[in-house]
Amino acid sequence: MARLTRQMRQGGGPFAPSVSKPSAFQQYKTLLAKDLRQEFRTREMLTSMGIYALLVIIVYGAALALTANGLDIMRMGGGLLWVLIVFTSLLGLGRSFAHEKEQGCMEGIMLVPLDRSVIFLAKATANILFLLAVEIIAVPLFYFFFMSGEPVAPTFPAIVAPLLLGTVGMAGIGTMLSTITMNTRAKDVMLAVLFIPLIYPLLYACVTATTVAITGTEFWIDFFVMPLVLACGYDVVMLLVCWVLYDFVVSA
Amino acid sequence: MNPILADIYSTVIPSALFVIAAYVLVWAVLLIYVIKVVRGLKKTEEQIAVLEEAVRASRPPQG
């Protein structure tokens, strides 16, 4: 009774909620926590992506059967690693909204008066984290299977940088494209058809940087720093464009 | 012919094939596109004629 009178005195009416509207950052944290908590409970995305990565590596085993020369694999290693990451991320991104669609969450989220781009940020962050988790598994696996023959260059730990930048870009644009293709026919093919051409410049830059990190080179600025700067530029521009356009897409 | 002159123009005949092929293909694709558009226009005009018939038939006779 006292609470009701207090609320009425605050002017919100007898049944007005007594909390203020959460800030955008809090909304973002809530959405992100929802995705992460769901993943921790079911682990379905991580397991499926992890097993898929392992299977791709096994296909590589067959594909590289005749490459006896260790240096070839070292030079191709960067590219092969990124092929692995692209296809695994296609799998993960295609399923990023599956739960929302199946359980009807999307309608619920749309009812909340929030800036729709927050949904984009939360989902993109969740995808980045999942993808990074898969990479943490996939890169050592890749090293174990293919690269223990020859010693890697001392710059090997530097592959963290292109992996990070590439993952951020791919998750950002992949989340936007996943939202677009969520309701179309043949959505996985549609996602791949849109995703791969748009991601090509980022992929190219990251593969270059990864390859020189693995094999070592004397033109460090040309082949490592410049691609990373360009990849960073790509990430910033694309994430900005997707941020601005997301509202239109998710409300359609 | 002077062998050096022959050398100067040695790439002309082999490349002529590709140059001609390039231009011919471009004009061919352009022609195909224009034909496609004009056929679409004709088809739409026929459909308009059919629709006009239908409108005339569906309107009850005046007077």
Partner: protein, 253 residues
């Protein structure tokens, strides 16, 4: 159309009166560029000769190539296809801000023109590469960027087919066209700035002589006019189809 709404592009308006003269002018100009390319622009130097030779009063020290003549059409069509993409994205932005379905039609037609000119670019570029470098494909920045552009435009049309609801389709198409417009220059820059053995940067045409520049400019203006004429023609057809569809629905309903 109520007076309060913003002006919306329609077929049969004043640009159509310009379309036929534009097509004619474009044809004239491109033919002129064709003739200029072969008769006026100097042939490009190829491999060095063993000994210099006097030809027509000029000391010639290299093989003369005519395969480079393809370039005079290759670059203009590439520029026109990118310009068409820019128009498609512009109409996409206008659709998103006004939700007028007419802008979606404009965007779609512009994308078709872009696809047409990208096909031209790929054909000419590929044949040029085949002769110059002896391979059917080389992952050089320009060809790769245009392959990516072609794939994006094809993806645009595949996506348009996959969505049934017209308003949703229009929103998604506009978004894709804007993303594509942003992505293509980045792709070009990245493949150009990162050195690689697989992606040779072909800079033979960097630093153009005035006669080459004139031919390219004439061809470019001609191609732009042709593209404009084609756009109006296709737009007219698209509008006609839409009006017939609307009439059919009115008759049935």
């Amino acid at each position: 159309m109520s007076k309060g709404k913003a002006r919306v592009p329609e077929a049969g308006q004043w640009p159509d009166r310009l379309a036929i003269p534009a097509l004619a002018a474009g044809t004239v100009l491109t033919s002129a560029a064709f003739l200029l390319a072969f008769l006026y622009a100097a042939p490009v130097n190829g491999a060095a000769l063993d000994a210099p030779e006097l030809v027509g009063g000029v000391m010639v020290t290299h093989q003369q190539l005519i395969s480079q003549k393809i370039f005079y059409f290759h670059m203009p069509v590439a520029i026109v296809s990118f310009a068409a993409l820019a128009f498609a994205a512009y109409y996409g932005i206008r659709y998103l801000s006004t939700r007028e379905a007419r802008f979606d039609t404009c965007s779609r037609v512009a994308m078709e023109i872009s696809l047409l000119f990208v096909v031209f670019t790929m054909v000419t570029g590929d044949l040029w590469t085949r002769f110059e470098w002896g391979v059917w494909w080389t992952w050089e920045p320009r060809l790769t960027t245009y392959l990516i552009l072609m794939l994006i435009v094809i993806a645009y049309f595949v996506m348009r087919n996959a969505v049934d609801d017209p308003e949703r389709r229009a929103v998604f198409a506009s978004v894709i066209s804007i993303i594509a417009l942003v992505d293509v220059p980045i792709c070009f820059m990245i493949t150009r700035l990162i050195p690689s053995s697989v992606h040779p940067v072909i800079t033979r045409e960097g630093g153009m002589a005035p006669d080459m520049a004139l031919t390219v400019v004439v061809a470019l203006v001609g191609m732009m006019l042709v593209a404009f004429g084609l756009y109006r023609l296709r737009f007219r057809e698209a509008r006609l189809e839409e009006r017939v569809q609307a009439l059919k629905e009115q008759l049935d309903g």
